[in-house]
């Protein structure tokens, strides 16, 4: 039982990935001199403008500056005031580079013929095309994990959640006033669970979705922000349950969510089911788990069903460090 061999061909896969990587780096290096994205100066890397259609005459590629843009789009900067995108002193901000044209592309052609040449309108672009622009600057920390993330895989656009020009939230330029409103648009089941009796302090404003999740991408599963597994995420706050303990409850060591629903539950301690029924999903036979805890047992005040049920005695169910803690009662 202590032998650990899963038979998964990890070595082959890793080797294949390495070869792919090396080849890719080589190809990349070979094309480096012709890279169109190299940008120096304060400006963030300019995004490639979509190739002009062959039948069009070559549009002017120059930048015209924000004042020209605002001549017609006079309200476009109102909602941005005071947001990070508008802070020119930050060399990473669009305001420090080409202002409007940092994101929307060179405006000279559009200013000369507004009907014929359109700047980038992110709401009319495919999600990934639009996201490319955002990711040219938002290319570090969690944003760097966007490509390949669960949201990227489902064609979620940056502008699905964020509004640069008309943000409604106090931070993060969200399209809604609160974070849970934007998340709930898709994650309806989780949002509804927050309303349950047993819940994390989300309703009270002490937590929000991003307390645990990183919507832009993550090295953890389930887009969790902290750690590299579900449990590492949980113990980043519940550190007391980290251990390792002398006596381990194996199922809990593998995943807290086997027993708990972190989004909310009607059961005490956010359990996925009520005790003792939850424990009896695994502890079926042998002594008192095999007992049928019906209404008669409730009337008889059996401490295996009333109160907190099994954990009345098996208090240290997450793990025990007591020499006599084999059944987590010490």
């Amino acid at each position: 039982m202590n032998t650990r061999s899963d038979g998964f061909p990890a070595r082959v896969l890793v080797t294949a990935l390495v070869l792919a990587w090396v080849m890719a780096v080589g190809l990349s290096a070979a094309q480096d001199t012709s890279s169109p994205q190299t940008v120096t100066g304060n400006a963030p890397p300019a995004v490639q403008a979509p190739p002009a259609k062959p039948e069009q005459s070559a549009p002017a590629q120059g930048y015209v500056g924000a004042e020209t843009c605002l001549t017609c789009h006079e309200n476009a900067d109102k909602g941005m005031a005071g947001t990070p995108h508008a802070r020119a002193a930050d060399p990473r901000s669009p305001a420090a580079a080409k202002a409007c044209e940092t994101c929307h592309g060179p405006g000279e052609a559009h200013s000369q013929d507004p009907e014929k040449f359109k700047p980038k309108n992110f709401r009319k672009m495919s999600a990934r095309d639009a996201n490319e622009t955002c990711l040219t600057c938002h290319n570090r920390s969690a944003h760097a994990e966007w490509e390949g993330s669960a949201h990227d895989a489902r064609n979620v656009a940056c502008v699905s959640c964020h509004s640069v020009h008309a943000p409604k939230s106090a931070k993060a330029a969200l399209k809604t006033a609160s974070q849970i409103e934007i998340c709930a648009a898709c994650h309806k089941t989780q949002a509804m669970k927050v309303q349950r009796t047993q819940h994390m302090p989300v309703r009270e404003g002490k937590m929000e979705c991003t307390s645990c999740h990183s919507p832009h991408g993550s090295n953890n599963v389930k887009m969790l922000k902290a750690g590299n597994s579900v449990n590492e995420s949980c113990v980043s706050c519940h550190a007391e349950k980290r251990g390792p303990f002398l006596w381990e409850h194996a199922v809990g060591r593998e995943s807290c969510t086997t027993c708990h629903d972190p989004h909310g539950s009607s059961n005490d301690r956010m359990l996925v089911a009520k005790d003792p029924m939850l424990c009896q999903r695994c502890h079926v036979h042998s002594r008192h788990p095999a007992t049928l805890y019906d209404a008669v047992q409730v009337a008889n005040k059996s401490n295996r069903v009333i109160g907190r049920s099994c954990v009345t005695c098996h208090t240290q169910i997450h793990g025990s460090n007591h020499p006599s803690g084999a059944v987590f009662s010490r």
Binding site: R4, D6, N155, E248, D275, V298, G325
Partner: protein, 756 residues
């Protein structure tokens, strides 16, 4: 060997990414051709909300304020001040000042160079205002009980259910609070580099609902205790990251220290003043009753890890990234003696401290590409290894509940290792339409679990229509199969479990899950949304344990925004969860007891939960001159059922005198449990009238109602600190009077808002 190889490869990849990124020169920044318009800069407003609050809470005030503090009195709800200049910003915030849930924040941002912030955030957890106990907490984890009560009960002159005894219970609040101090620093020495330091300290104090138990089942005692909390977690997260248009490299360190100031809980036995034992006259066996119990609390522990991540952009809109984390968790607390029962010879411990250690390695490799505009490919490999290196610990005879010497037990330091490989491909034939198919494989191996290995294959497909003005649709379907191998029946036999029982977290499973979300926006100001989610987990090879798990979730709602001044929204959801599990009333197989093999003893539980949720809101901003109005109503109603089913032959077994000595009672049909009902309704209105441009007067009114009926935790069940059984005998458990009670709460604030 494989771990080292993986780590080495990961490190090489990171170096490779770093070198590739380094090829791009970090040229000095020339002046920007653009001079920002003055309209990009604006002064920031400050705000202060202060006033007075009064509330009326009927019954369970603790649950109403579980994570908040809504006591009566003067309030400073919000303070916000921001000073922005061209090159820096300072902001300060405060909420609920002076209350248990207060939050203070200050931040400074020298744009593009340094960001620093400090936050102090208190999170209360309020369990009960009516806790009662015969115990007195003496500090340092020690609970005592009046000697006279112990002596009287041991001598037989008193009983724990005697009103004169129970009346001595003292009433107190059961609550705790987390004080979180968070310091963040980001230094940006060059345009491409960030250095980050994050320090968090979380201190918990107070008490929670805990337990102490004595002697072993049956006949043991369990006492609810207001277990003290006094611990601190200190986390440090430091990283340096270099990113530019071509790639990214980062290195980081994460450290965490957990310190518990209460190393153990000691509690006296309400039923015994001295340790004693009784001897069975027939067998000569002794039954011990300890006068004192001792339990371990959470042990001090540390966690340290270093990590590195890198990514590089490749031709064909491709990107490769790698992540490696190597860490260790340690716990070396002193071990308590196996028992504090003076009549027992405590077994000698193999070692004096825990010596627990786990090494954790996590790696991710990801390759993402859009070789042509409407095709997206992604391949991901994830490796996670939790290698528990804690030496085995054998106790010659463990002492459950400080009551008697038990059998030899040896620890099972759990380890597991997971490999995940996922490939996904997406086609976006039109701007607003995307289709995706994917395949995932998870291979996991574990120690001390009934399956040595599990393998799960997942096929998934999704369709997303987004960006369309009138309709958006997201649909996804997944089918997966998980199978275990290397079944170890001995692990089940050793604990008397049936060989057909399977732990559902690793059991063979067929899973189907799907979700469809539709949003229809016929006109710009009105949108309708609906969703259906359904899924089923079929544990097809589980003879006992969880065998089936299904869910259906429906939601419908609308959002109506007729003008910028008005917003109406409503969402209604119905959730339906059903599970089925199977069991058998029998003791472990023995020559004298064959009940273990008797199928007539089988029974099951069909659990169901039906939840209705309504969330709605109205926001009227300046619809009435100078007035802001917000209304919110949330409602959640859960009805859970636990229905027992028995084998068709159960009754036959119950009625016939079949020799099943020792296998437990099967003498009647089960009496079904009542439904568990939870309903919460919350209405909140927030009105503000602007007397001037800077001054507003407002009223906040909050109404909440909670109704609960939980057979296990209702006041009817726990109707005394020591509830009596049907026959009038006292139960062997003394509670804290922590029960699930309803509440009706009204709270109102009058507040003045000043803006500048």
């Amino acid at each position: 060997m494989r771990i080292r190889l993986t780590v080495l490869i990961g490190a090489l990849l990171l170096v490779s990414a770093g070198l590739a990124s380094a090829q791009q020169s970090d040229a000095p920044n020339p002046p920007s051709p653009y001079q920002p318009s003055a309209s990009f800069l604006s002064s920031r407003a400050g705000q202060v909300d202060f006033g007075i609050r009064a509330s009326s809470i009927d019954d369970d005030a603790a649950r109403f304020q579980r994570f908040r503090d809504l006591r009566d009195g003067a309030t400073l709800d919000t303070f916000r001040w921001e000073k922005e200049r061209a090159k820096w910003i300072f902001n300060a915030e405060a909420n609920n000042v002076g209350y248990r849930d207060q939050r203070l924040f200050a931040g400074f941002n020298k744009l593009g160079q340094v960001k620093a912030s400090f936050e102090w955030d208190q999170v209360p957890t309020f369990y009960s205002t009516v806790g009662r106990s015969l115990y007195t907490y003496q500090g340092n984890g020690r609970f005592t009980i009046d000697d006279a009560i112990q002596q009287g009960i041991q001598a037989g002159s008193l009983s724990l259910i005697n009103p004169s005894v129970l009346s001595q219970a003292q009433q107190f609040d059961t609550r705790s609070r987390s004080d979180n101090a968070l310091f963040n620093l980001v230094v940006t020495p060059t345009r491409d580099v960030d250095v980050k330091i994050n320090v968090r300290s979380k201190a918990r104090t107070g008490s929670t609902v805990g337990y102490g138990n004595l002697a072993s089942s049956p006949g043991g005692q369990a006492f609810e205790l207001a277990t003290p909390l006094d611990d601190r977690t200190t986390d440090i997260n430091a990283s340096a990251e270099w990113a530019n248009a071509r790639g990214r490299v980062s290195v980081g360190y994460v450290g965490s220290w957990y310190d518990d100031n209460i190393p153990s809980i000691q509690f006296e036995n309400a039923l015994a003043f001295t340790d004693f034992f009784t001897t069975n006259p027939t067998t000569g066996a002794r039954t011990y009753t300890p006068s004192l119990g001792q339990m371990a609390t959470w042990p001090n522990s540390t966690a340290h890890s270093v990590n590195s991540a890198g990514s590089i952009k490749l031709p064909g809109k491709s990107k490769a990234s790698a992540f490696v984390s190597v860490g260790t968790w340690k716990q070396n607390d002193a071990l308590l003696p196996a028992t504090v029962n003076s009549l027992l010879v405590a077994p000698i411990l193999e070692r004096p401290t825990g010596e627990a250690e786990a090494r954790i390695v996590a790696t991710n490799f990801n390759f993402n590409s859009r070789p042509i505009r409407n095709v997206w490919l992604n391949a991901k490999y994830r490796f996670y290894d939790y290698d528990n290196r804690t030496p085995h610990f054998t106790i010659s005879s463990f002492v459950p509940g400080d009551g008697s010497l038990g059998a030899e037990h040896t620890t099972e330091p759990t380890s597991f290792r997971r490999h995940n490989f996922d490939v996904d491909a997406s086609l976006t034939p039109w701007t607003a339409v995307g289709f995706k198919v994917g395949y995932g494989h998870e291979a996991a191996d574990r120690t001390f679990r009934i399956f040595e290995r599990t393998a799960e294959n997942t096929l998934r497909a999704s369709a997303d229509v987004t960006g369309n003005q009138y309709v958006s649709l997201r649909g996804v379907f997944e089918h997966s199969t998980r199978r275990g191998s290397g079944f170890d029946e001995e692990l089940l036999d050793a604990v008397g479990e049936h060989p057909e029982m399977r732990h559902f977290d690793i059991a063979d499973r067929d899973r189907d899950r799907g979700t469809v979300i539709v949003t229809v926006t016929p006109i710009e100001v009105l949108g309708f949304n609906g969703s259906i989610a359904a899924g089923r987990d079929n544990y097809k090879n589980s003879g006992f344990g969880l065998r089936d798990n299904e869910h259906r979730v429906y939601s419908a709602g609308f959002d109506y925004v007729p003008t910028k001044k008005a917003d109406f929204n409503l969402t209604y959801g119905y959730e339906k969860y059903d599970t089925s599990q199977w069991s058998r009333t029998a003791n472990p197989l023995a020559a004298t007891d064959q009940g273990f093999l008797d199928e007539r003893r089988d029974w099951g539980i069909d659990s169901g939960d039906r939840v209705r949720t309504l969330s709605s809101g109205v926001m009227l901003t300046q619809l009435i001159d100078k007035t802001e109005l917000r209304f919110n109503y949330d409602y959640s109603w859960s009805k859970a059922s636990y229905v027992y089913t028995v084998s068709s032959q159960w009754l036959e077994l119950a009625l016939l005198p079949i020799p099943t000595t020792g296998s437990g009672s099967v003498s009647r049909l089960p009496q079904q449990l009542p439904l568990v009902d939870n309903r919460r309704a919350a209405f909140r209105t927030d009105a503000r009238y602007f007397l001037t441009k800077n001054v507003a007067i407002g009223v906040v009114y909050l109404y909440e109602q909670y109704r609960v009926n939980d057979f296990a935790l209702s006041p009817d069940t726990l109707n005394s600190l020591v509830p009596l059984t049907l026959t009038g005998a006292s139960a062997n458990t003394m509670f804290l009077n922590y029960v699930f009670r309803p509440y009706t709460a009204n709270a109102a604030w009058v507040r003045l808002t000043y803006l500048w």
